[in-house]
């Protein structure tokens, strides 16, 4: 039922998208600008109750639940218990894809025909999406994976592989292995909203592929900025001597 509603919403969104969608000189949808999510997926991508420091939230997992293998469920429980010290966000490490998209920080999309770059406020991460080129041959384990994009009609489709097994999907311990394969789809709902769909595959952790879906909101201030959050850059830094 939920799937049907989402599909119907997506169809309705698609109808209004074509009128308002900005386009580049080469006719592609123009994703340039500053975007951000408005949801609670950074805490937990599944539906969750409130607890200290965590607002209640509706999840972004299509169908509601992540199809973990039994052994992986036990790992998620351990991850939850050690989240205050072992989660990549607690360590201020690069958080992986798609997690960096739905953390509560703005990001700027910089679009050229050959490459689409995303500059994220969180730890100053810079991601390059190389268009119409193959992944380099692995095995490679990168924090943010290797992103290769192409256009399917008016949707930007980004295939991401070559992850490590250190990043998680959220603060609640949801996780993946180095076998993670992510396919993101960015498509306009209207001029200031994108539909962001993410297909997840990881045969070491899940019983089947699954999806996330959420809107991305354009920051419509006239002069939006992506500033800085180098969360590891606050302690024991050089300062001028006292009185200077």
């Amino acid at each position: 039922m939920l799937l049907v509603v989402i599909a119907a919403n997506a169809a309705a969104w698609a109808q209004t998208a074509s009128q308002a969608m900005p386009r580049t000189a080469d006719g592609k949808p123009d994703l340039s600008g500053v975007w951000q999510v408005l949801n609670s997926a950074a805490y937990d991508i599944e539906d969750h109750a409130a607890q200290a420091g965590v607002p209640a939230g509706a999840g972004v997992v299509v169908g509601g639940e992540i199809p973990y293998q039994p052994a992986s469920l036990a790992q998620r429980k351990r991850n939850y218990e050690n989240r205050a010290t072992e989660d990549t966000e607690a360590k201020c490490y690069l958080p992986g894809v798609p997690r960096i998209t739905y953390m509560p920080y703005p990001f700027r999309i910089i679009q050229t025909p050959e490459r689409i770059d995303i500059s994220y406020e969180y730890v100053g991460a810079l991601r390059h999406i190389f268009m119409n080129t193959p992944h380099p041959r692995g095995p490679i384990e990168w924090w943010m994976g290797d992103s290769r994009g192409h256009w399917e009609g008016d949707a930007l489709v980004v295939d991401v592989v070559h992850f490590n097994d250190q990043t998680r999907f959220d603060k609640a311990g949801n996780f993946h292995s180095e076998m993670l394969h992510v396919v993101e789809r960015y498509s306009f709902i209207d001029a200031t909203h994108l539909n962001y769909e993410v297909a997840i595959e990881d045969p070491k952790v899940f019983t089947r592929p699954w999806k996330m879906q959420m809107p991305l909101y354009k920051r419509i201030e006239t002069t939006p900025r992506v500033l800085e959050y180098y969360c590891y850059g606050f302690s024991d830094v050089y300062t001028l001597p006292a009185g200077r």
Partner: protein, 285 residues
């Protein structure tokens, strides 16, 4: 800087093999001229592309910005500093930064602490995988320039940093917003991008060895594009630290061949040096 020492060593090794004819001499930025090349859709001179220094030994801020290269370190590695090029980066008559008296002492103290660190903050921020800040990042290395309407982006692949220069005349940030990389506002004058930068924090140095500024720093930068070269002049204004404004100069050439894909840079995630230098002072990873 993943491992600053290694890079210094690499720079020295390359310098050692460089022919004498490759030695740099002080050069000048050509005067601002007309831009006669292509323009972007919004009318900017189209300067997009990848820019690099002529040779790795010209990586100024990995040495001492005031000297170009560090004579002590060269003697320690058995080389005569007189035999090697010293690109003059600081464009004052004696090549030195016009510090106020207290600041000269502080700069010497920073350098001394750098060689014998007892506190984490004695280290160069970038040696700990913290950001470099500006103007060091732009003095240190080449960049890829990408242009969009009203915006110029400098992407620095070495530290995977994006600098956004606003050409749209937007209001500057309030002074209390301090950033490693500041807030940059620019305009085109012929073939020259003139940028004013402010809102810097005090945590980033000019180089590895403790040339520093206060959070009152304001910089004016000129990126002049002529003949496949980018001439960079940055003037630092900081009345708390310097007795007068001073200018640093470095040059870059445009890469006209194929440029490698910029792949992931993850420095902090793999940083293990500080916990070895200061056991117990840093969190094990």
């Amino acid at each position: 800087m993943r491992v600053t020492g290694l890079l210094v060593a690499a720079g020295l090794a390359l310098a050692a093999s460089a022919p004498l004819s490759a030695q740099s001499t002080a050069t000048l930025t050509p005067p601002i001229g007309e831009w006669t090349g292509q323009r972007t859709a919004d009318g900017q001179p189209d300067v997009h592309g990848s820019y690099a220094k002529d040779w790795i030994g010209a990586r100024g801020p990995n040495f001492d910005l005031e000297e170009g290269q560090d004579p002590e370190e060269m003697r320690a590695t058995g080389r005569n500093p007189e035999d090697f090029p010293k690109p003059q980066i600081v464009r004052t008559p004696d090549g030195r930064i016009p510090y106020q008296a207290w600041a000269r002492q502080q700069r010497l103290e920073n350098r001394k602490n750098f060689f014998n660190p007892t506190e984490l903050w004695h280290l160069d921020s970038n040696a700990r995988c913290l950001p470099m800040g500006f103007p060091r990042e732009s003095l240190d290395q080449g960049a890829e320039i990408i242009q969009a309407p009203g915006l110029v982006f400098f992407e620095y692949p070495y530290n995977s940093v994006v600098r956004t220069i606003y050409l749209d005349g937007r209001a500057p940030l309030n002074d209390r917003v301090k950033l490693w990389y500041g807030d940059s506002h620019g305009r085109w004058e012929g073939n020259t991008l003139v940028v004013e930068g402010r809102n810097f924090n005090e945590h980033g140095w000019y180089d590895t060895y403790g040339n520093f500024h206060s959070p009152d720093l304001r910089i004016e930068e000129r990126f002049t594009f002529a003949g496949n070269r980018m001439y960079y002049d940055v003037t630092s204004h900081d009345p708390r630290v310097f007795s007068q404004p001073w200018t640093a100069h470095v040059e870059f050439r445009k890469n006209t061949g194929n440029v490698d894909e910029p792949w992931e840079t993850a420095c902090y995630e793999g940083e293990r040096d500080t916990q070895h230098i200061f056991p117990g002072k840093t969190r094990p990873k």
